[in-house]
């Protein structure tokens, strides 16, 4: 390992962590020092030149090499076997359509969110069951964290400096989880993205918030989806565009499939029913909404019709933009992961090459 400058580090872990914190090279959590040995072990797992350039990373526009990704994977606490997933994840964020510059620098809370498909989930013992969004699993936690550290240390997304998120959100620490394919009544999400069943893939979404879609009482698909629609329309988001991700828990998915619903049927139902009209709000709120929406249309130069009291605000521009995956343990809680901006077409899926 020669290309990266090596630093003489202090002796104690406490001093090393203090150094990283002072230099804004950590997310605030303790780090694993990236010694030459640890980085070497990480690089051994992939058949790539450490100096291979994956791209230049906004907003600093710094070159992002395999070696730099390996260094940050060590810092994050990744095991070497996670590294192919981390590399694929970084390749995703560097795709132009993800708009990393906007995601890194915005006042919006948006951050990357990763969904993993394929047998690699079991190989790495990822958690797609209880607490799949929460703490406790090393692979889930450190893969997402590694990407955040790359965005920080290579891309320059230092909070309050070039990362101007007004509040951010906890998902910016890490947000990476596998689909629970075995508990899904439908094809894996990777198939929706055009990959063969059984392919190892990672998909990147830009996500800025989370809404619990809890329905503990319905035993029909329409009942469960009706609850989803109410929660989405009332608070979780009828966003200004984009592709919302719904992660349906296995019990809800089973109810839907039992009533004969495909993923396409679920998307259509959500699109047609998770919607609100300005006339359903107070006059003050309706006026504000109409003003905002029509100013946006005017500024963008779009030919969209004027938004009126009787216009519908929908959760996405069309049903096909609603993304559906299955995950979670026992219980009746599904989730809406809300996109923040960027319209549609910002989702990226890459095959994971071991």
């Amino acid at each position: 390992m020669t290309a990266q400058r090596q630093l003489e580090a202090p002796d104690s872990l406490e001093e090393i962590n203090a150094l990283y914190y002072e230099r804004h090279m950590t997310d605030g959590l303790p780090i694993v020092p990236p010694t030459a040995e640890r980085v070497g072990a990480m690089l051994k797992v992939v058949d790539r030149d450490p100096q291979e350039l994956l791209g230049t990373m906004a907003p600093r526009w710094a070159p992002c090499t395999i070696q730099k990704v390996a260094i940050n994977a060590v810092i994050a606490g990744c095991l070497p076997e996670y590294f192919p997933v981390v590399v694929a994840a970084v390749e995703c964020v560097l795709q132009e359509n993800f708009n990393l510059y906007g995601v890194q620098a915005t006042t919006n809370p948006i951050g990357p969110c990763f969904l993993v498909n394929g047998p690699i989930r079991q190989e790495l013992q990822m958690n797609g069951g209880y607490n799949l969004f929460g703490p406790g699993n090393r692979a889930n936690a450190t893969i997402g964290r590694a990407v955040r550290l790359v965005l920080l240390n290579v891309g320059g997304g230092v909070p309050g400096d070039l990362d101007r998120a007004t509040q951010g959100w906890p998902g910016k620490y890490t947000l990476c989880f596998p689909e629970s394919e075995e508990q899904s009544p439908w094809d894996p999400y990777s198939v929706d993205r055009g990959f063969a069943k059984g392919a190892n893939t990672i998909t990147l979404f830009g996500i800025g918030g989370f809404t619990n879609l809890a329905d503990l009482h319905s035993n029909t698909a329409v009942g469960v989806l009706g609850t989803f629609c109410r929660l989405i329309a009332m608070g979780g988001g009828t966003p200004s565009g984009g592709s919302p991700l719904i992660v349906i828990c296995p019990e809800h998915a089973e109810i839907m499939a039992r009533d004969g619903m495909s993923k396409a049927d679920v998307k259509k139902y959500l699109f047609e029913n998770a919607r609100v009209k300005p006339s359903g709000f107070t006059a003050t709120v309706a006026e504000e909404w109409l003003g905002f929406r029509n100013r946006q249309t005017q500024v963008s130069g779009s030919n969209a019709p004027e938004f009126t009291l009787d216009s519908w605000g929908t959760m996405s521009p069309a049903p096909e933009h609603i993304q559906i995956a299955v995950g979670g343990g026992a219980g009746c809680h599904s989730a809406l992961l809300s996109p923040s901006f960027g319209g549609v077409g910002t989702i990226v899926t890459r095959e994971i090459i071991k």
Partner: protein, 58 residues
């Protein structure tokens, strides 16, 4: 000449440096402006224009 919000000035300077234009001049608009009334927006725009004119003609 770059017109930028005060809050994004640091980002703007960093971009200029990285992209090889370290001496690019800035017209800075006070933050916030999304929530302002029209007359205040006009005032800010007018001041930004004066900065831009000055920067472009120096």
């Amino acid at each position: 000449m770059v017109v930028t919000s005060q809050e994004f000035f640091t980002l703007g300077k960093a971009e200029c440096q990285t992209l090889g234009m370290p001496d690019l001049r800035f017209a800075i608009v006070p933050h916030p402006f999304g929530s302002l009334k029209r007359d205040v927006v006009r005032n800010h725009a007018s001041k930004a224009w004066e900065q831009a004119k000055s920067g472009l003609t120096k």
